[in-house]
């Protein structure tokens, strides 16, 4: 056997082992080790929690949070990342959960509501704050989505809720736990060189020997992103330290990099508009107070819009005001930052209002 020439390949085995070992151990994307369950548990136990690499399936986290939470939640906020910093203090509710997530679409809201309904955890909900963003009404935004796989996993809940709000008979539908996949059977990332390089960089920046995938924030020394027990989001130190000039730079770069303005030339999609109204009708019919929270764009971004070439936001606001009037809903805020009086200094970047500045400009507390 040892005379065989084929044995000359054996010294290269360590290279394959290195590739697999770094990808599995580093796992910066949390593909092989999911910290989502542990993070959800920590939040529900009342601890602020983080995922070390910053890579987390937000939708999976929201789903697992919903599955584990008690059924006594009374107030929700739902929308895209623009609502993720809204806290229980901002809304003046103790039994509050923030279910916002990045690139949050109407489908995500339906998925979460569907999960809650199937698990009978929606019985005490009396107030929902909806934060409509461009993702809700503009299909051109969909190609910027990075979490389609998780959305597909949650599709049964989305479909269930969609059928419910459209008056179809869904009495026979049952709850089946979602399977998010992952683990060692993910072939592509296991042998991926780009994932290897990401893991090498990740391991180089962390304590390799004591690698923590998630943890509890116990003091002010932690500088990364984390979630609060009410589901709201706290940005990392580097983002928090961004100032007004950074907001102006980011607004410019963001627009150039992502060709964002091209998307704002669109008009509101009629299908998405119809689904939104169906949802509002359903919630009202179930005696839930619906409020609409319009999160402004940073002035640095708003100033780049030409209302004639980019009618999307003015059109959307006009539509939502009509819906609010039609169904007697409270509407808070405006997409136009100048109507609200908010400045670039109140933002982290072109779209996200600073945590702690929200209640200065938006009264999200319930009006009885």
């Amino acid at each position: 056997m040892f005379k065989s020439k084929w044995i000359r390949f054996l010294p290269f085995l360590p290279l394959i082992v290195l590739l697999l070992a770094v990808n599995i151990y580093g796992d910066a994307g949390n593909i092989f080790h999911s910290p989502v369950d542990v993070t959800a548990e920590a939040l529900l136990a009342g601890y602020p929690a983080y995922v070390a690499s910053g890579n987390l399936s937000e939708r999976e986290l929201r789903y697992r949070y919903i599955c584990r939470m008690s059924g006594d939640v009374e107030c929700l906020i739902m929308g895209a990342s623009t609502v993720m910093c809204v806290t229980s203090e901002d809304v003046g509710e103790e039994k509050f959960v923030n279910l916002g997530n990045s690139n949050g679409r109407l489908e995500d809201i339906l998925a979460y509501l569907g999960t809650m309904k199937l698990l009978a955890k929606d019985k005490h909900i009396r107030r929902i704050i909806l934060g409509p963003s461009e993702y809700w009404f503009n299909k051109k935004m969909f190609d910027r989505d990075y979490d389609e796989k998780t959305r597909q996993v949650l599709k049964p809940y989305t479909d269930y809720m969609f059928d419910t709000i459209n008056g179809k008979d869904t009495a026979d539908r049952k709850f089946y736990p979602a399977d998010f996949g992952g683990g060692i059977y993910e072939f592509n990332p296991l042998f991926s060189i780009s994932y290897f390089q990401a893991n090498v960089n990740y391991l180089a920046d962390t304590d390799m020997l004591n690698l923590q995938r998630s943890g509890i924030v116990r003091d002010n020394k932690y500088e990364g992103y984390y979630y609060m027990p009410d589901g709201s989001w706290v940005y990392g130190k580097t983002v928090i330290l961004q100032n007004e000039n950074d907001v102006i730079l980011i607004a410019g770069k963001h627009v150039l990099d992502t060709n964002l303005l091209d998307r704002y030339t669109e008009h509101i999609d009629p299908d998405l508009r119809r689904n939104f109204e169906k949802l509002v009708q359903y919630l009202i019919a179930h005696e839930i107070t619906v409020e609409i929270y319009l999160i402004p764009l940073a002035p640095a971004l708003w100033d780049r819009l030409d209302t004639k070439k980019h009618p999307f936001f003015p059109e959307l606001e006009e539509y939502l005001i009509r819906i609010a009037e039609k169904y007697s809903l409270r509407i808070i805020g405006s997409y136009n930052p100048y109507k609200v009086g908010i400045t670039n200094a109140d933002f982290y970047d072109a779209r996200h209002v600073r945590r702690g500045h929200i209640s200065r400009y938006f009264d999200l507390k319930a009006k009885n």
Partner: protein, 505 residues
């Protein structure tokens, strides 16, 4: 169910995917451990599957194209072989015309019409499925038909052999353009599992991945940064970026060829080389003998020589000799044939104006000019300084074409030339400095990578190779060299979604 199958379009697989390696392992295993008589059938099935995933089109479209091309090639060659005299000529013309038309319609027609007419909607039906590799295997098919017609060898009556020749997967998407005489014996032979084939194949593929992922992709960043914003860069930067494109193109294309050759070797096949250290050429003429060799020789053998020997050209030649004298007259005849050759090469590159000019007209112009230059102007090749100067001159002359490719349109290319000539040293007004696009690690990798490639080509120019050099060392050094290559790819390879440049043809 049948409709679902026919409309099936599996995930897209490229030469840099992990899926490709998985495909090689599975097909290699089946290939070598299947019964002897089924080896080429397995390779044919693997080739078909590879093409289905690499092309990313629906199954029924792929079946149609492959059956059409292979059918014409197989049936046409058999009928041609059986016929004689005028019938043989007519049949040959019919088969070749059908294949050329198919290639033209499926590849270039829409592009050409879109350049001429503004309203492209009415020609939308001509925007056929952009089938990668079509240009390469169609040429191989045409070459086979012509060889049979000229009596170089008889038609092969085994359809599996012809099908495998046409769609042999390593050469499918980017060449080389093979001749049936080079493949006939290999296709018919049984290929036992041999260590040397696997070892050499893997090493060749590794070298290709190193050139593409570590070197080419990095140079591409600079080219893209400058050319996407050339109005804000001065002529010096643009010249530098064009030189970077020369490196990018060569390492990309030759890297692709190395991967293809290596993959073919894994199955016991040897494909013809496509590059012979082209940037060590002392003249443009020599460059075109060393660059994309199989395409050049194909056009020379199947287009230029037949055109030159044709009756029309003979008549033209006699008239030119009568009018301009023997020497000039024959030259004119030669230049006309060359013009036809380069027009077709330009069209082969896709029919867009800038590619037509870059890959057809400019080479023709420069080659003609270099031919008519007086002999006292040429440099002494015995002098080492002159040789270096000549090589650099060749690269610069090639960059004249590359500007059109990088600029992606004739208008932009003329704008670029304007910047080079009028604003060679003007201040740079780009938003971000060029240094922001590359780190110091990138610069180190690009420099060392380029030196390694140049050294490898220098050895090739001396009729040896890096592989031979490494094989002469002790085993420890050999392993270190291969380890270094693999680790360079693992740590520094830019494995993104970019494809190989010549896939577009």
């Amino acid at each position: 169910m049948i409709q679902d199958i026919l409309y099936w379009s599996p995930c897209f697989m490229t030469l840099t995917d992990q899926l490709f390696f998985f495909f090689l392992i599975v097909s290699g295993f089946l290939y070598y451990f299947a019964p002897k008589n089924f080896q080429k059938h397995i390779l044919l099935a693997a080739s078909f599957f590879f093409y289905l995933t690499a092309a990313g089109i629906k199954l029924y479209k792929l079946i149609f194209v492959l059956v059409f091309i292979t059918g014409i090639t197989y049936a046409g060659s058999i009928f041609i072989d059986k016929s004689r005299g005028k019938n043989r000529t007519v049949l040959t013309w019919v088969c070749v015309t059908v294949l050329v038309l198919a290639l033209f319609l499926m590849k270039s027609a829409y592009n050409i019409l879109a350049q001429i007419f503004e309203d492209t909607e009415k020609f939308g039906f001509m925007k056929f499925f952009p089938l990668i590799g079509l240009s390469y295997y169609t040429l191989s098919a045409i070459g086979y038909i012509l060889d049979v017609s000229w009596g170089i060898y008889p038609a092969d009556k085994n359809p599996v052999n012809i099908a495998l020749y046409v769609i042999f997967f390593p050469q499918l998407v980017s060449g080389p353009v093979t001749r049936y005489s080079q493949m006939r014996e290999q296709i018919s032979a049984y290929h036992p599992l041999e260590y040397e084939n696997i070892a050499y194949g893997l090493r060749r593929m590794l070298w290709g991945y190193f050139k593409k992922l570590v070197i080419s992709e990095r140079f591409a960043v600079i080219v893209s940064a400058v050319y996407s914003d050339y109005g804000n860069y001065n002529g010096a930067y643009i010249v530098f970026a064009t030189l970077c494109y020369a490196v990018q193109l060569y390492t990309d294309f030759s890297g692709c060829m190395d991967i293809i050759m290596g993959a073919a070797n894994l199955f016991g096949y040897s494909l013809p080389e496509n590059f012979d250290a082209p940037f060590f050429s002392l003249s443009l003429k020599e460059f075109w003998r060393r660059w994309h060799i199989t395409l050049g020789t194909w056009f020379k053998d199947y287009v230029m020589y037949p055109v030159q020997m044709s009756k029309i050209m003979n008549v033209l030649g006699k008239k030119c000799v009568k009018s301009f004298g023997k020497k000039r007259g024959k030259k004119i005849q030669f230049y006309v044939s060359m013009f036809v050759l380069w027009v077709l090469i330009g069209l082969w590159h896709g029919g867009t104006a800038h590619y037509f000019i870059a890959s057809g007209m400019i080479p023709f112009l420069l080659l003609t000019l270099s031919d008519i230059m007086p002999s006292w102007i040429s440099l002494n090749y015995d002098n080492i300084f002159c040789r270096v100067l000549c090589r650099f001159r060749t690269v610069l002359l090639m960059c004249v074409s590359f500007v059109f490719i990088c600029a992606e349109s004739v208008g932009n290319a003329l704008g670029v030339y304007g910047r080079i000539l009028m604003n060679f040293a003007a201040p740079v007004t780009a938003q971000l400095p060029l240094s922001s696009y590359v780190t110091s690690t990138d610069i180190a990798l690009m420099t060392s990578g380029l030196l390694i490639v140049l050294y490898a080509d220098y050895l090739k120019d001396r009729k040896t190779s890096v592989t031979a050099l490494i094989d002469r060392q002790r085993p420890f050094i050999q392993y270190c060299a291969i380890y270094a290559e693999v680790l360079a790819i693992m740590f520094f390879g830019m494995v993104g979604n970019s494809s190989f440049i010549y896939f577009q043809f």
